[in-house]
């Protein structure tokens, strides 16, 4: 037992655990609304934009975090908050934005000897102090937001036409969801990897919907599943020296498969 907990004597593991749990929780809560609104691929698109922004910032010797956050926020607002006015944005625009950002990011990294593998699939060493504090802030913000506005988030997710017609201010709710999603993706990207962070948005929500039939329950279940899968995945990643993104997603996949078998 002592041996098990000894891994958390390392400061980087403490940071990875705290930051990761918060990112996992936020991604799961935000993911429920995104998945139900058929925006599941947004997380994937935003993570690629974040990768592009981080690479360019690094090449220009700027702070990757403080470049990526506003850039990804802007992309999220464009794709999520501003959309819908003329019907749903096509998935083609998301795919174009994401592949273009990936290409720019790889070019910006060229010849710098950067470990692209860790960017793509995550690194256990990646969370710095600054990011951990930002995670705590993000987690507090998302939790308060969901506690106060659960009904409004449900209303907008279930039926935008009705919410708009009856004078609910869904624009603000949608904007807040978009901005929170952007920050979650940027903060989770280094730990989980560009290619795998979107799984945190997707899997816990899908798993929770397998077993829950009330919106409130889906939120709680998604949060719990996501946090547990992250913790398990992080430990496995440490013991077997694997990319944390891959182990966490595998844990999520296992839970989803199990719940699918139970509830057929």
């Amino acid at each position: 037992m002592h041996e098990f907990f000894s891994m958390f004597e390392y400061a980087f593991m403490q940071r990875a655990l705290i930051a990761g749990i918060i990112v996992a929780l936020c991604a799961a809560l935000l993911g429920v609304s995104l998945v139900l609104r058929r925006y599941a691929m947004i997380g994937d698109g935003l993570s690629h934009v974040a990768f592009g922004a981080v690479s360019v910032a690094t090449a220009l010797h700027l702070s990757p975090l403080w470049v990526a956050i506003p850039v990804v926020m802007l992309a999220a607002v464009l794709l999520l908050a501003a959309g819908d006015r003329e019907g749903k944005r096509g998935d083609a625009s998301v795919a174009m934005l994401s592949t273009a950002s990936l290409a720019v990011g790889v070019l910006a990294m060229a010849g710098k000897g950067t470990d692209v593998y860790s960017y793509m699939f995550g690194s256990i060493l990646a969370v710095r102090i600054e990011e951990m504090w930002l995670c705590l802030l993000l987690g507090a913000g998302v939790l308060v937001f969901f506690l106060l506005f659960r009904d409004r988030i449900l209303s907008m997710t279930f039926d935008e036409s009705f919410a708009r017609a009856s004078g609910q201010h869904i624009g603000r709710i949608r904007l807040a969801l978009a901005l929170f999603t952007a920050v979650t993706v940027v903060l989770g990207m280094r730990l989980m990897g560009t290619l795998l962070i979107s799984a945190l948005v997707l899997f816990p929500a899908m798993s929770a919907m397998r077993i829950c039939r009330r919106f409130g329950h889906v939120l709680v279940a998604a949060g719990i599943i996501s946090v547990v899968c992250f913790a398990v995945g992080l430990c496995v990643s440490y013991w077997f020296d694997l990319a944390p993104g891959a182990t966490v997603v595998s844990a999520n996949l296992a839970v989803y498969a199990l719940l699918s078998l139970i509830r057929r």
Binding site: L36, R37, R38, E86, G87, L148, D151, R152, L154, S155, F158, D159, S161, F162, A163, R164, A165, S166, G167, Q168, M209, C212, R213, R214, F215, G216, H217, V218
Partner: protein
């Protein structure tokens, strides 16, 4: 003063003109059915009345102190709603949000309860919305609309996905609500029930529109020639 006075209205949907030069009025206590072929702009007109889109020409005047908060809307059901993970109670509660502030107000609960009972679905309140029949789902959405509004109901093809028995039951339910004093504006494809229950008919055509009482519409042989007036 009427609830709605529509004058020479033109509306567009996704940049395309769908309604041109339309005039009609809706008074308190009316039951107006909007009929017409697909693409004639019935749903667009409802969205115009709700204030969700602005006229490209003409005017929609609201009278009798009618505000957004007095209108209950029952949109067409979307595919993703059918298997949405929410309980009946959760869905109906979202109808009360236009009145509450940051925290849920204490009368949200009584209002939800009252409308669940009014529509005979109080015993379904803990059931998952996705597990209900089409008719029950429409009752839930109607309860939500009633939470949002007391004066006026706007319904967009509420019986489109119902089987004939559930549809006629739904029409009787709306009729009851109308008799209780609600003003009803309904988009529908079914001419016979529209003629039976509605007080007024608005027929949207591609070239011209017809507006008048249901009786006059019947005499015109469901066509829209020789009615009270061409709208």
């Amino acid at each position: 003063m009427a609830l709605f006075t529509v004058q020479n209205l033109s509306l567009a949907y996704e940049g395309r003109h769908v309604i041109d030069n339309l005039s009609f009025t809706v008074a308190q206590g009316d039951y107006l059915c909007i009929v017409g072929e697909n693409g004639s702009g019935k749903s667009t007109l409802l969205r115009g009345l709700l204030g969700m889109i602005s006229p490209t020409a003409g005017r929609i005047l609201r009278g009798d102190g009618l505000g957004r908060q007095d209108m209950g809307y029952l949109p067409q059901q979307t595919k993703q709603q059918r298997d949405f993970p929410a309980s009946v109670e959760e869905v109906v509660r979202t109808g009360c949000l236009n009145r509450t502030g940051l925290l849920p107000s204490p009368d949200t609960r009584t209002k939800v309860e009252e409308n669940l009972r009014r529509l005979g679905i109080a015993d379904l309140r803990r059931r998952p919305y996705a597990h209900l029949s089409g008719g029950q789902q429409q009752r839930v959405l109607l309860a939500r609309a009633l939470c949002a509004a007391q004066k006026l109901l706007l319904l967009d093809e509420p019986t489109a996905s119902l089987d004939p028995a559930a549809a006629s039951e739904f029409y009787r339910l709306i009729d009851d609500l109308h008799r209780e004093g609600l003003t009803v504006i309904m988009v529908t494809h079914d001419i016979p029930p529209a003629m039976e229950y509605a007080t007024h008919i608005l027929h949207l055509g591609t070239k011209s529109h017809w507006f008048g009482t249901a009786d006059a519409y019947g005499k015109a042989g469901s066509g829209f020639t020789g009615g009270e007036h061409h709208a």
